[in-house]
């Protein structure tokens, strides 16, 4: 099977995973270990769309962004997670997370191509916010290292799904698909931002 024909299968599996998570939303998942950690990034639509948007944008920007972002993001997110886990306050986390969806969605929808350092700085800032949220929301029970493994892996897989979709931008139909995806992310981000600001 060629690499291209494998991509739709991978995409379908990843999307199915998201649908499956809808059945458990609102309740505890797992015992504070790997499963709980895997579930956390996909438990919130604001987290999910931002992670996918990082992959989409990286694919649009091409090398080296396409691999720099998934290498750097988990590390910077972990720093934010460390801060959150240790109770260090960070103002405006929820607003910032919502803004990340809006900004990243806009970048993908408009196929913005800033200098690499600007893209990295932006993604790093959002990674700190997302990580901080994961760190403060971790359960008081369970196995910390397995929880950490779960949500880092889930985050990485969301990036990968974004990259796989984003790679289709090389074709005319794919370019439209990716930018439409960016628009969807932007809409979700805007919704959550308005909610965070108390306007909805």
């Amino acid at each position: 099977m060629s690499q291209l024909s494998r991509a739709p299968l991978a995409l379908s599996l990843l999307l199915a995973a998201g649908a499956a998570s809808g059945h458990v939303e609102g309740g505890h998942v797992g015992d504070g270990g790997l499963l709980t950690g895997l579930y956390h990034p996909i438990s919130g639509l604001d987290h999910m769309v931002a992670m996918i948007a990082v992959g989409l944008w990286g694919a649009q920007l091409g090398a080296p962004a396409i691999w720099l972002l998934p290498v750097a993001f988990p590390l910077v997110m972990a720093l934010g997670g460390l801060a959150g886990a240790m109770g260090l306050p960070l103002p405006g986390v929820e607003t910032g997370i919502a803004a990340s969806g809006l900004v990243l969605g806009l970048a993908v929808a408009l196929a913005l191509r800033p200098p690499l350092w600007v893209a990295l700085l932006l993604v790093a800032a959002f990674a700190i916010l997302h990580g901080h949220a994961h760190g403060t929301e971790l359960p008081a029970y369970g196995v910390p290292i397995l929880y950490a493994a779960g949500f880092v892996i889930a985050t990485g897989l969301l990036h990968l799904s974004g990259i796989l979709i984003g790679l289709t931008h090389r074709w005319p139909w794919g370019s439209g698909l990716v930018r439409t995806g960016g628009a969807v992310v932007l809409a979700v981000g805007a919704y959550y931002l308005l909610r965070a600001l108390g306007l909805m």
């Binding site: 590390l75 460390l82 910390p144």
Partner: protein, 192 residues
């Protein structure tokens, strides 16, 4: 992927089965020591990180680390077995793994002499943490053997991954290992 890789994978799967058959005939410490690398995620993480480092640096580094890793584990485990309790062994272990994961993510070409030193230090720290308060000499031997096997199963097949996207995947794994252990470090310090 070479023909060695499937054989290595079969060996890895067969190892736990073999360990179950060993416990009846040998002291419990040996099998428990070997199983640490599989059963304890923090020790699995350091072996993965060492293997990734070796795979990214090349066969010369891999050979040196293949020798240094079990030596470090054995030395550390012997120290832990005689209860030379060093405060913060768990924290040190997590910190070492963060560093190794970070080095793998950056794929820096360090001087060759540093690689076995890193493996030795990581082995001592993790061997000590694994054996502290439990296990004896056979546990230490088992831990060293398990670590050597685990390292080999990661490093040598990893050396065969030469395509650019494969090398990047190894670096991504390194960043994941660093990230996971960084968070775990924070949770441990918090007392979670």
């Amino acid at each position: 992927m070479s023909r060695r890789t499937p054989a290595a994978l079969v060996t890895a799967v067969a190892a736990p089965v073999a360990a179950a058959q060993v416990t009846a005939a040998h002291p419990l410490g040996l099998a428990e020591g070997m199983a640490q690398v599989i059963l304890r995620p923090e020790h699995l993480g350091v072996i993965l990180a060492l293997g990734l480092l070796a795979a990214l640096r090349g066969p010369d580094a891999a050979m040196r680390m293949q020798v240094a890793t079990p030596i470090g584990l054995a030395v550390g485990a012997f120290g832990g077995a005689v209860a030379l309790g060093v405060a913060g062994a768990e924290v040190a272990g997590l910190g070492v793994t963060v560093l190794l994961g970070l080095l793998a993510a950056l794929a820096l070409r360090l001087p060759l002499v540093l690689y076995p030193l890193l493996a030795l230090v990581a082995g001592v720290v993790h061997g000590h943490a694994a054996a502290l308060g439990q296990g004896g000499a056979l546990f230490a031997v088992g831990l060293a053997a398990g670590g050597a096997l685990g390292f080999g199963l990661i490093a040598w097949p990893g050396l065969e991954l030469r395509a650019e996207w494969q090398r990047i995947a190894l670096r991504v794994l390194g960043s994941w290992i660093a990230a996971i252990h960084l968070i775990a470090l924070g949770l441990t310090l918090r007392g979670a």
